[in-house]
Amino acid sequence: MKPSAFSISKPLITTLVLQAAVIGIIFYAAHGLLVNTQANLEARNIASGFGFLSLESGMPISNSLFPYSAADSYGYAFLIGVINTLYVAFIGIVMATILGIFIGVARVSGNWLISKLAEIYVEILRNIPLLLLLFFTYSIALAALPIPKKSLAPFQGFFFNNRGIYLPRPIPESGFSMVCIGFILGIAAAFFIQWYGARLHRNTGRIIPCFSLGLVAMVAFPSIAWWVTNGPLSWEFAVLKGFNFKGGLVIRPEFSALMTGLILYTAAFIGENVRSGIQSVNIGQINSSKALGLTPGLTMRKVILPQALRVIIPATTNDYTSLVKNSSLAVAIGYPDMVSIGGTIIGQNDQAIEIIAMWMAVYMTINLIISLIMNWLNARVQLIGR
């Protein structure tokens, strides 16, 4: 069927003409759009270009991880939004994964009650809109918690009220860097123990309790540093002044509502992935690992998990990217993520095209990075054909 090099076959001409036509249409449409856009922008007196990013924003941001004031530029305000989005996405992914694993394992549990409870959880959460869940958690965070004067104080220095959750803020003193270094050393030692244990097992067959030893190292190194430097950490407690609390570490209700909603919602989806992953492992595999005398923990780690992950990872990648995209719903409850701040900027100077382009660029970059990491993980757990 290969056309020879010198005769141009009829189908080839057709495709060439078609493609040329498509290109023509695209250029025509793009040109039309450009003309319209310019005319519209001029008529509405809207500036174009990214020059506005260096102008003073004049907008307040309630939740910011870094120092920010209304005198800072639009560009910095948007950056704060991007950081907030990343922060929400990161915590959301970690917590939703942990909760999702619990839900998924509970769904395949032999305990009838637990598996039914997990099933009810999944079926409820998957069939309502996330935005409704967010409204619900936000109204709980605002309405169900008391006013600052009547804060719930379950522990010394912890306060729950409708302005947020107040925690003691740790203040590092001189010598705290020693503790950090100790912590890093501990992690390095744990990795070394893991590596050494694996080598020992390979070469001699002896098994040392790598996990417990690693844990001991991770605790011991920073503890020694702590003891040597006399506990270089003090706590700043929140105190009630007037109508509100001052000081301490504050978790705003918008943030807690957004996180709770996102985590509960995504965990239901991840739980389903985990369930289908575990159920995809052939029961014969589990029976034979039992017959070989593997403990339940080892069966889980060495037999079920590696096979289940092949099913779990691709589906969960999708859920991670949708979590990142869903974090944009923050705008509905007033948490200043990228979309929320961008929306405010559009409201102030009408430069919608630039802001939307920036949104798209950031979301696509985040999702690309997640996909790359997850594809790398996926490649590692895939069956290696021999």
């Binding site: 495709t15 078609l18 493609q19 305990n111 009650l113 409870l117 935005l131 705008v331 939307i356």
Partner: protein, 376 residues
């Protein structure tokens, strides 16, 4: 078995007589066995069961008494004595939902024309029933669904003899279902075209389709809605003005078609190459191969996932609240913030969750039933 077998001992022939089976021990059958096997099989399981029962014990009775036993179902006949919001309430006040019911369902649609959306809804339910009980052939069913929006739009919008109702008055569950239904109906053909384009051998078409699918899938729906609502007017020629509802609907259609394209692509990839080769060797043109051989099989494969997309899109239409449309969730929120009825957020949100849940759960169950029927 061997212990029961009798053998020849003193020359006389002993005949094997099986004694009747003993009943199984009490702990091995019936409810006790079930409990032991499913709830108390090990120490950890027993602990978990007790924790689960405790959890239910702590949550279900208060919830039930709030939602049912202590709840207020009717408005007090004398509104002066019991003002909503001022009385100490112990249970839910469902009367709030009854009062707001019309707004929640139809938005601000004028009361004298209310029969029109109700009739439209009845027709919609009828068509759903026809689909579920498979009264019509598949081809007729597809035609029916594609024709459906026209009479319904005519009924709700008016025109041609009926008085026109302004689109800014539309709202409530009517708007949610409408946006989702038209979004799905329009985006399926668009999604199929995108999926076919993505598998096309023409480089320009292919890259165009990939670019479109991936750029839509890469961003949240909110940005698409912002784009439709804020940017679309800038792109259009001056003087050409389309209203916000239609702009949002266009945004939803584009968003949904990118996801449907990926679903359809999965179905297309499941068709073995032999089918295509066989069809072309019969002398079919390439568009006929696609239309008569590949697509029917591919679509049958992906119907369950398509229904999954319907569920997702129906949930996603709740986001239109952010660009200023008052759909079902929007009306729920507006009602909860009505100054005359403050403090009924929980009732409003639970009612909203219930309605969404019923619709989405029935759709996904329908999808599962199709999946079961497709397996043979």
């Amino acid at each position: 078995m061997s212990s029961d077998t009798c053998s020849d001992t003193h020359g006389g022939l002993l005949i094997f007589k099986p004694s009747p089976d003993l009943p199984p021990p009490l702990v091995a059958v019936g409810i006790i066995a079930w409990l032991k096997k499913n709830l108390f099989s090990s120490k950890i399981n027993s602990l978990l069961t007790i924790a689960g029962v405790l959890f239910l014990w702590k949550t279900i009775p208060p919830l039930a008494s709030w939602a049912i036993i202590d709840a207020t179902w009717t408005l007090s006949p004398n509104p002066d004595t019991i003002n909503p919001g001022t009385t100490e309430k112990t249970g839910a006040c469902w009367a709030f939902i009854f009062v707001k019911f019309r707004v929640l369902m139809f938005g601000l649609y004028p009361e004298q024309f209310l029969w029109r959306p109700i009739l439209a809804f009845a027709i919609f339910v009828l068509v759903c029933a026809i689909t579920i009980f498979r009264i019509l052939q598949t081809r007729l069913l597809i035609v029916l669904w594609f024709l459906l929006p026209f009479p319904l739009f005519f009924l709700i919008n008016g025109g041609m003899g009926l008085e026109t109702v302004e689109q800014s008055l539309w709202g409530g569950l009517m708007l949610s279902i409408g946006l989702a239904a038209i979004g799905i109906i329009m985006s399926i053909p668009l999604g199929i075209l995108l999926a076919l384009g993505r598998r096309s051998k023409m480089v320009v078409v292919k890259s165009l389709c990939i670019g479109m699918i991936e750029s839509i899938r890469g961003v949240p729906l909110i940005t698409i809605l912002f784009m439709a609502s804020v940017m679309l007017p800038i792109f259009l020629p001056q003087g050409m003005d389309i209203n916000n509802l239609l702009r949002v609907q266009i945004g939803i259609i584009f968003f949904s078609s990118a996801y449907i394209a990926e679903v359809v692509r999965g179905g297309l990839q499941a068709i073995p190459q032999g089918q295509i080769e066989a069809a072309s060797s019969m002398g079919l043109k390439s568009w006929m191969v696609t239309y008569l051989v590949v697509l029917p099989q591919a679509l049958r494969h992906v119907i369950p996932s398509l229904i999954g997309r319907c569920v997702a899109l129906f949930k996603d239409t709740s986001l239109v609240i952010i660009v200023g449309l008052l759909d079902f969730l929007g009306m729920i929120k507006a009602s909860a913030q009505d100054p005359e009825w403050l403090g009924y957020d929980a009732e409003a949100y639970i009612f909203c969750a219930l309605i969404y849940w019923i619709i989405c759960f029935s759709m996904s169950q329908y999808g599962k039933s199709i999946e079961r029927r497709n397996q043979w």
